[in-house]
């Protein structure tokens, strides 16, 4: 199966969780908007195509199926790509954990856009400072501590006791947080040694390492979810 991924060409964003899964599995895929431009997504979003209607990218064309929402796409890809251990319980747990990653990703986005996605960061800077402080002081310790506990309850190295797309997502989360909040993360990393080790191990997987070193990996930037605004990080 050759998959067609539709996501904004200029950012990692939510699409990066899908890109990492496809790359780690060595799947055959086209990153459509990076080849043909973001306007290639419009017909789907405007309802001019058959089948499921996506609310927003990312969405994936897989044969006759069109699937939107990151966690739904990953659940669909998990079995054919070998990215989830066997058994219903672990497949469901993978979705549950991915949805918790998604909740945190939404909170991270809102730390620079607490008032409206349609406004510039510069138009909500004061509110962003308040929200980002809460993210760094309350939410990140809670979420990262949770994922650390998930690892401790499994084999200490994988969220599900064996490699899965959830580990790839946790790597992406840590990479994004390191980029956006380097000062806060140097503090927070001390309490989550398993999560740090997992992120390092994932980065060294041969296909992941090759992907990260390739031009296919869009660099982090200030249009995506993980943005480095020093004013939103811990004070120097």
């Amino acid at each position: 199966m050759r998959y067609e991924l539709y996501y904004w060409s200029g950012i990692q964003g939510r699409g990066e969780f899908i890109r990492l899964a496809l790359e780690d599995a060595g799947a055959e895929y086209i990153d459509v908007a990076r080849e043909r431009g973001d306007e290639a997504m419009q017909a789907f979003l405007q309802g001019q195509c058959e089948g499921a209607l996506p609310f927003a990218p990312p969405f994936l064309q897989a044969g006759h199926l069109l699937i939107a929402q990151t966690a739904a796409i990953l659940d669909y890809l998990a079995l054919p790509l070998g990215l989830v251990p066997e058994g219903e319980a672990r497949r469901i747990y993978a979705t549950q954990l991915q949805l918790t990653v998604a909740d945190l990703v939404a909170e991270i986005h809102d730390s620079h856009h607490p008032i409206a996605s349609s406004l510039y960061y510069e138009d909500q800077r004061a509110e962003a400072q308040r929200r980002a402080a809460d993210l760094r002081q309350t939410r990140l310790p809670k979420y990262l501590g949770y994922f650390e506990q998930v690892l401790a309850r499994a084999d200490g190295r994988h969220a599900l006791g064996a490699h899965s797309y959830v580990d790839l997502s946790l790597f992406q989360l840590m990479a994004g947080l390191d980029y956006a909040f380097p000062r806060a993360m140097s503090r927070l990393r001390q309490d989550v040694p398993r999560l740090c080790a997992l992120a390092e191990e994932v980065a060294q997987r041969p296909r992941v390492a090759a992907y990260l070193a390739s031009p296919r990996r869009v660099p982090f930037n200030e249009q995506g979810i993980f943005r480095h605004y020093p004013a939103l990080d811990d004070p120097a």
Copy 2:
């Protein structure tokens, strides 16, 4: 199978999407915290139980399975409760739509808590006014218009062309928005006639109607997701 649902006893919140599915299907279940108090959830959240670790309520015990995250629970229940039409494509589409409902629910929550869930509304009132204005003027028209289009592309009356848990969730969304933003909704409803008709039809389903009239339905209040703060609604 007798299901055990764990969710805060004093609010509808995210747990209400599960309650509605169980009630509509006439499933046998216990709403554990309403019988034994919210402290009955603590052992699970503190990791003292085997299996999956929930980050937050709602979570469901179904035999040996423990499942957290609303959309994951609904996907699991959909087949045994007969709450999704046949076929992989529609089951996946149901999840995709439920996740889009979940995204909107998070945005609605943040309209009264744009800075921090850990602070009172009263401590973020000015920011809430800005964020709620964007919700009413930009986000609600976009989301509700999207769901209206989903209905139009199916049979006009059901999100998936036949009854499913997604319809129950869309009913709950409309009910909550009517409670929280009555002035904005009297304006917005004019553009989504199919969504309004769906909400009325769902409310008249015998088991749903019986549930809504029963003491099992927690009334909307100002501790849940849908809160009626007149200052956050359209101006009078």
